[in-house]
Assembly symmetry: C2
Homo-oligomer: 450 residues x 2
């Protein structure tokens, strides 16, 4: 369903709730997909959400809606239910999602729910919660379809038929040896297109792309994307198969990481947007402003040092905001482009070329903009030739420096094991503003041009 | 293969080429996956690339490498080959990829290659090139697996076995009626788990999520992601099945769109990064700087208007860079957060709440930062109480205004049918700098505080 259609349906559902038109509400919920109900849930009030869940036809639908909802929302809904009811839903949700939801709850509440889940389910969830939530181990599903080497294609299909709906996403059959080590993989497609009496060992591909559970989820997503895989097996040091990361998780990871990158660039990372109150928004935005404020404090010292010159050469003063704007944009441009190149996994040599290219481009842009400014001032008759030349040179110098600094910062960040995307946000803007200002004022007050 | 491993292999391949150690090069290429070779190709020189392609074992491997390479690179490689050889590779590449590659070539060259491809392949490619490259029609594959309603599960499996390797990614069987209209879908899994004599019409799901070919690729990716689909069928107005968009394309789209968003925020969008020269980098970065320069010109007028006040109240002058930095970050924060909320498809009401929340948070942050500045100046004994209060108030006012403006701009951009992400880049930074500066100077020079 397209987003506008869902928003329309949401208004309908809210109206039916207000009117307490329960049979109509039940019908509306019944014919809506769980994914759409989870989408609608986000923008309902805290009072309306449990009503929507209560009016789902059965626990299967309820569980599907909760599993598709934002994890903090899901936790809130479950916490409000009687324990036994919450457990009934959790048992219908994939263990990796259960682990994420429980992490949002009070330790005691989570332990109480786990207790009631039964040993098998509980062990699966506990196994997963050992790993970092953003690692392959944290997002993998321990429910995969694996068979011994001597199984035939026919037997494999028979086992698949017996599985029922326990394994939601079966794309591949993993082949393991006697001690559970991964030795090969074959697709459902290959299973179907070979003779039933062939051993899967003879059909399978033995060169399997796998990851260890500690690998960062972004790296897993990149591998799946690069090799066009629908699932990536997670194996321990001894190559024992622990779980699989499926393509739907990969897509979630890609979307999460994209959002995180954008929020970092915008100086707004930290904290869950969906759960944001004014206080949380204020707290998560403050650290970035503090860094900018410190940079601004240093800029104040620079202005103070050049105060006499600025007051006696007002031409220099007037263009301070322009220079800060231009250096900020130039530096962020360089940092963004180099950051992307690094994200693409370019080699050191290619990065070096990019760095030089963007710095030279920044210098050209500086000369271009400086010349435009100088010429503009001269043609409009606002300044004499010497002043125009001086201002133009100062703008060019500060922009060139900003371009270079912006290009280098992501590389430095990466060396310090910080996310290069951070370098393209307020941090670089503040740094290049300061450096740009110093260079602008130093050139502008020099007697180079008499 | 992890990125560091690929980079090591790349150095090996370059060394083998330099030493003209052809048998060793052949072996290294033979045991490397086409996806990894395509990755390596990007950072080889223009002379080395055709050598790598030439040393692939056969046309199947060559075609796989070319299909996985960046589209501009692929086009360059094909253009350098003899026509017959290029066509042999194109015939082994999926029609949607062929269409993208041909689009990069000279019209004449492309037409010449198409001519040689044979009627069936040619028609498929021409059909696809009718649609915008960034639409569902532009990324769909016309090669899907569809069957009539009365086919049984057993017959369907038999047909699947006869297909061979022609259809690369078969996840679903699409069910069509006599005139090719899509009536249902079932998964390979469902096919296998039902009795061979059951009609697929009785197994299939008839409520199929599909898109029309004009739908934007980002919307298609969002649908696939929301509903956890491995493929989305593309149908025309009459519900006739035209093609399918598969999950690997969806992942490519998500990555492309994320990169585009980040480049837009960084003021560096436009032009293909992979193909960038200094000149192209300069040209693609210039428009953003021009916009910033215009804003800076207006700021210069503002400073000029307040010149006397700034010279007689140097306290006000000293903090101009600080204020510009703080308003810039505050505005971009608001714009980034609201932009993300819009991307999530939040309803108008939820967006309004977000807008108010971020504006209030910005005002709080302004008061906090203003108070810190005022107190700092007072405690350090740098300014008298009245000046400190005035400066703090001016900072708070400008930051609050920046937060509000930053929050509103993405909504305005979206109304004007522009990408809201554009609003979180240099554009908003420039706009809030200007507005922030005016408010700061207006408050700072007011006689409110005597």
């Amino acid at each position: 369903m397209s987003t506008p259609k869902i928003q329309m349906l949401q208004r309908t559902i809210k109206r039916l709730m207000r009117r307490q038109a329960w049979p109509a509400l039940d019908r509306a919920i019944e014919k809506t997909r769980p994914e759409d109900l989870a989408f609608i849930l986000r923008d309902l009030s805290a009072d309306e959400r449990p009503v929507l869940i209560a009016h789902c036809k059965d626990d299967d639908k309820r569980a599907a809606v909760v599993a598709d909802a934002d994890v903090a929302l899901a936790a809130g809904l479950l916490a409000a239910l009687p324990r036994e009811h919450a457990v009934a839903l959790l048992k219908r949700i994939e263990p990796d999602d259960v682990s994420d939801i429980l992490e949002q709850l009070d330790d005691e509440v989570a332990a109480g729910l786990l207790e009631l889940m039964g040993i098998a389910d509980r062990r699966e969830v506990e196994e997963l919660s050992r790993y970092d939530a953003a690692s392959a181990g944290g997002i993998m599903s321990p429910r995969f379809f694996s068979l011994g080497r001597d199984t035939t294609a026919g037997e494999a299909i028979h086992k698949l038929q017996q599985l029922g709906d326990d394994l939601e996403m079966v794309f591949y059959v993993y082949v393991v040896n006697e001690v559970g080590q991964l030795v090969g993989v074959l697709s459902l497609r290959q299973l179907v297109t070979h003779r039933p009496d062939q051993r899967i060992f003879d059909i399978m591909v033995s060169d399997v792309i796998s990851v260890s559970p500690e690998v960062d989820q972004e790296e897993v997503a990149k591998l799946a994307s690069r090799y066009g895989l629908l699932a990536i097996p997670v194996v321990d040091d001894g190559n024992k198969l622990l779980g699989i990361v499926t393509v739907d998780d990969v897509i979630d990871v890609l979307r999460e990481e994209a959002t995180e990158d954008i929020l970092r660039m915008g100086g707004a990372a930290g904290g869950d947007l969906a759960q944001q109150t004014v206080l949380r928004a204020t707290l998560s935005r403050f650290p970035w402003l503090l860094a900018t404020g410190l940079g601004g404090g240093l800029s104040a010292l620079v202005i103070w040092a050049y105060l006499d010159a600025l007051i006696s050469h007002v031409a220099l003063l007037i263009f301070v905001p322009l220079v800060l704007g231009m250096t900020g944009v130039t530096g962020v441009q360089s940092a963004t482009i180099i950051g992307r190149r690094m994200d693409e996994g370019r080699s050191g040599r290619a990065l070096l070329f990019s760095l030089v290219r963007q710095t030279v481009a920044g210098l050209f842009l500086g000369i271009l903009c400086g010349a435009l400014l100088g010429l503009g001032l001269r043609v409009l008759g606002l300044k004499d030739g010497a002043t125009a030349l001086l201002l133009g040179t100062a703008v060019a110098g500060s922009m060139g420096a900003a371009a270079a600094l912006g290009a280098i910062l992501p590389l430095i960040f990466s060396r310090l094991r910080l996310d290069p995307t951070l370098a393209a946000g307020p941090f670089v803007a503040t740094a290049v503003d300061l450096v740009g200002l110093v260079i602008y004022l130093a050139i502008g007050t020099s007697s180079l041009f008499g």
